[in-house]
């Protein structure tokens, strides 16, 4: 019998705990050519800004070993178009939708949360704290516990009480637990981690940064060990706060690794770029992994790697 893969996100029941990560599934339509979006645990939208936004110039992507650098720069149609076009389409297809929001000031974030609260069908809000803070020389909010907390407090204060608010954290900090702590204190219902690592590539031909935006966010399997570590640390500090784990999930085994480290849900990002049916494949492979270890419910493995007694060292067995 296949394991029970269900998860809960606030008031919403998710058929399974494999989500598509923000910015890696288009508006959902692109994905729907290859998989049934109703069968994805939830679709996390590209981070939505209040107004339409062009994003950064090309080149925006560079391939690195087992990774991808991106500086898309939050290109998007803006909240109006999202609510008029993309959200209804996803809902009509039976998908559950987590809306990722992006602002450059605390007020902007609060305004976005207010807009979403007037809307039906928003399963949760994910707050992209890696956005540049216009009032702090463009430093991402996520780098400072206090600023991150202020954004979450504002969003939590503006969002309808029954919409859970997840804070999406950046790994580019000395102490991710401190940022997580500030977000939890500010009322975050859950945490989403990790966003990309700040990286850069130089094109040896032009001898200039490979991305027009110079810096890029590093994602993909290359960063998985950092994601596992961050999820582990945050889970150890806040065992009761649900975590959406992302960062380099390519296979069901990778998903299992993040669950064992303490994630309650998994978001698949870059692998969707590499394999458009990644979400359904990862789910299937995760089911197989769970069957192999004889688990009935995916929820049972969450955080299991924290157990006190080491199960012995594999290579001694």
């Amino acid at each position: 019998m296949p394991a029970d893969m269900r998860a809960r996100l606030g008031l919403t029941d998710l058929p399974n705990l494999v989500l598509s990560a923000s910015g890696c599934a288009g508006a959902g339509r692109e994905l729907a050519q290859f998989i049934d979006v109703a069968r994805v645990g939830a679709v996390i939208s590209k981070s939505i800004m209040a107004e339409p936004h062009t994003g950064n110039p090309a080149p925006r992507l560079a391939e690195t070993p087992s990774g991808l650098l991106n500086s898309v720069g939050l290109q998007g149609p803006g909240m109006d178009a999202f609510l008029q076009r993309d959200l209804p389409w996803l809902l009509s297809r039976g998908a559950r939708v987590v809306v990722s929001i992006a602002g450059q000031t605390i007020r902007e974030f609060a305004g976005l949360a207010t807009r979403l609260s007037d809307t039906a069908g928003v399963s949760a809000i994910e707050v992209n704290l890696s956005c540049p803070n216009a009032e702090d020389a463009g430093q991402p909010f996520a780098l400072d516990p206090q600023r991150a907390g202020s954004v979450i407090a504002a969003v939590r204060g503006s969002a309808r009480y029954d919409i859970p608010v997840f804070a999406k954290l950046s790994p580019d900090v000395t102490d991710i637990v401190a940022v997580a702590s500030a977000c939890v204190a500010a009322g975050a219902d859950g945490l989403s981690l990790i966003n990309t690592l700040l990286g850069m590539a130089i094109d040896p031909v032009t001898m200039r940064p490979a991305l027009a935006g110079k810096y890029g966010g590093l994602s993909g399997p290359a960063i998985r060990p950092v994601a596992v570590r961050c999820v582990w640390q945050v889970r150890a500090a806040f065992p009761d706060v649900p975590i959406i784990g992302s960062g380099g999930v390519r296979t069901g085994r990778d998903a299992l690794e993040l669950l064992l480290a303490g994630a309650s849900m998994i978001a698949v990002g870059t692998e969707i770029i590499h394999d458009p049916s990644a979400c359904s494949r990862v789910l299937r492979e995760l089911e197989e992994e769970l069957a192999a270890i004889g688990t009935d419910r995916a929820a049972d493995v969450i955080g299991q790697a924290h157990g006190r007694t080491p199960r012995g060292l594999a290579w001694r067995a």
Partner: protein, 310 residues
């Protein structure tokens, strides 16, 4: 609708500077229309290369239920890996992707311009054009003779076929654009189809513009997903409503009306693009500087004015 399949390598052979790979891929072959492309995941199950590689479909055939042929240059690690494959290997393949070349309703005099591997998609297009009663003239180019793809076929099937190479080792010396005007005049060209690097397309568009000839240009912009999810392959393109948008060449292209692509602004965000920092829905300028001073956002954007994270 594109599909994702495991295609089996039927043959892989050298063609001058290129490799021609034939894949058994019925579900793609039957849906394909000229100008569309496929993407392939490279490097095997533990690959370190996450971007899919895009290739124009050169030919489709009915054998084995349907095969697809691509022609590629082994230039980087992904294409070198492809060149090392052997018959019976299988490949994660997605296609057909993108907007095909539009075919004129009425018989027309069509000029097909291809540079390097850019010639690959033109022959299937030509066949379709001839079926509809159009005539086809070819203008092919490349750095040198062994980089001009398909000249023989062009000679055989086209009404005319001209060649230009950078080093003069085959046909005229120089760029294809040097021969364009003469052909246009002689062939009384109605429509141009072009598949070439961006700078060549820009030049083709400029020349054709002077003769008021519509150009359908297939652009070769770095891609990662090919399906529209990553927003990596963008170009500034003006819509028929006059508004410039930053569009994805994988889903809105790769074939564009050349007069709508803002060739000079490729690799930039023009200030008047929908959603650009200076853009305003109400047509007012957001900042105090006059538009021409704001210029375009080119190359290195000051950090802090952008988000690196997605």
């Amino acid at each position: 609708m594109p599909v994702q399949i495991r295609g089996t390598v039927l043959t892989l052979r050298r063609v001058d500077a290129y490799h021609a790979l034939t894949l058994v891929a019925p579900a793609i072959a039957t849906k394909f229309r000229p100008g569309q492309f496929i993407t392939i995941a490279v490097g095997g199950p533990e690959t370190s290369m996450l971007g899919r590689r895009a290739f124009a479909v050169h030919d489709v055939r009915p054998d084995h239920g349907g095969t697809v042929e691509i022609v590629f240059e082994a230039r980087g690690p992904g294409t070198r890996w492809l060149a090392s494959l052997r018959a019976r290997d299988t490949l994660d393949t997605v296609g057909p992707l993108g907007r095909p070349f539009p075919i004129p309703r009425d018989p027309s005099s069509c000029l097909l311009i291809g540079v390097g591997y850019g010639s690959a998609p033109l022959f299937g297009l030509a066949a379709r054009l001839r079926e509809r009663g159009s005539s086809t003239d070819y203008l092919l180019g490349g750095d040198s003779a062994e980089r001009v793809f398909g000249a023989l076929t062009a000679r055989r099937n086209g009404r005319s076929a001209a060649v230009a190479t950078t080093d003069g080792s085959f046909g005229a010396r120089g760029a294809v654009t040097g021969l364009m005007e003469q052909i246009i005049r002689e062939a009384r060209t109605d429509v141009i189809y072009a598949c070439a690097p961006v700078p060549v397309l820009r030049e083709v568009a400029a020349i054709a513009g002077r003769y008021d000839i519509p150009v359908q240009a297939s652009v070769d912009v770095p891609m990662a997903c090919g399906t529209g999810v990553c927003m990596g392959c963008v170009l500034p393109v003006t819509g028929t409503d006059g508004i410039t948008r930053i569009v994805r060449s994988c889903v809105d292209g790769p074939v564009f009306r050349a007069d709508l692509v803002r060739w000079d602004d490729v690799g930039t965000i023009p200030f008047d693009a929908l959603g650009a920092p200076g853009w305003s829905a109400r047509g007012e300028w957001g900042g105090g500087q006059p538009p021409h001073d704001r210029g375009v956002i080119r190359g290195v954007v000051p950090p802090g004015q952008q988000s690196y994270a997605g």
